[in-house]
Amino acid sequence: MKNLFTVMALIGALFAASAASATPATNTLFAKYKAAGASGFSAERGQKVWTKELLSESGEMMSCTTCHGKDLGKEGKHHKTGKLIKPMAPSANAERFTDAKKIEKWFKRNCNDVLGRECTAQEKGDILTFLLSQ
């Protein structure tokens, strides 16, 4: 009985851990960002970058939420094309953050769009930590 309980607790812990963080893809990326000098990733800092509004080249205020929406559990909408973008929160969309190449590709495009430059390793690690917690 006691053994069974321990096993169940262990399984529960495993599930909790995998819900709060990390796919094999994001593990690879966190390791890469650390190798580039980043450390101590923070969801709070990530959220600040995610919601920070900046004046874009086209003269409108933009942030990551411009296309991904304010509620990460819901669909977003591409600001130019109107195309619906599936929810970013892994809790609402299990396909999120499962392909390291895809994540890096969109970081590159979207950081350039919003910040006018690529994101640093520290910023990417922070943002991923924030997104994975959703």
């Binding site: 591409h78 130019k80 094309t81 109107g82 195309k83 190449k101 495009r109 769009d113």
Partner: protein, 187 residues
């Protein structure tokens, strides 16, 4: 001698008939019929990489909507870095797969009716970079008032085919499947 010649010819004719009817019985006929009835519209996208990469920011335009010379320009490495103001660049392998797919299925390579018309409309002159610049497509949308397009928050531009063409993902653009958001009575 003459008779053997006739006999040979008759035998040959029978053999030909037989072989072609077995071919039909094999299902080629049905395939032909299905293809024939499908070819009115535009071939929908069938390549996964194309669907994913070119369908992430907007509806994935079927390659049969533009001629090869347009895809060649649009799908240059440099061109994709500044793709209508967006960075749509791809790694070399993915780009090659997508470009090959688009070139092989470009308007002039397709037997689908609308693609044939697009191929004809673009045969001469510069390669259009937009489907919305193709004469045939322009003409079809000439009469739609701007307020239903630009002034319509659920459309915004002619470029977003699938906002109005409800079966665009299947390559279907006929009048029966069109519905302009917020203007249900337009026809």
């Amino acid at each position: 001698m003459k008779n053997t010649g006739k006999l040979k010819a008759t035998l040959l004719a029978i053999a030909l008939l037989l072989s072609s009817s077995t071919a039909l019985a094999d299902g080629n006929f049905w395939q032909w019929l299905v293809t024939f009835s499908r070819q009115k519209e535009v071939q929908p996208v069938t390549n996964k990489a194309y669907q994913e990469e070119c369908g992430s920011c907007h509806f994935a335009y079927p390659p049969g909507l533009l001629p090869g010379k347009s895809w060649a320009k649009l799908l240059e490495d440099k061109g994709l870095n500044d793709h209508f103001g967006e960075n749509a660049s791809l790694d070399a392998d993915t780009l090659k797969e997508i470009r090959d797919y688009a070139m092989e299925n470009a308007a002039e390579k397709s037997n689908f009716k609308r693609s044939r018309k697009i191929a004809l409309a673009t045969e001469e002159g510069d390669a259009p970079l937009r489907i919305t610049e193709v004469r045939y497509i322009k003409r079809k949308h000439h009469d739609i008032p701007e307020k239903m397009i630009k002034g319509n928050k659920d459309v915004k531009s002619r470029s977003y085919c699938n906002a109005c063409h409800t079966k665009a993902e299947k390559g279907i653009f006929d009048n029966d499947t069109v519905s302009i958001p917020n203007y249900p009575d337009y026809d």
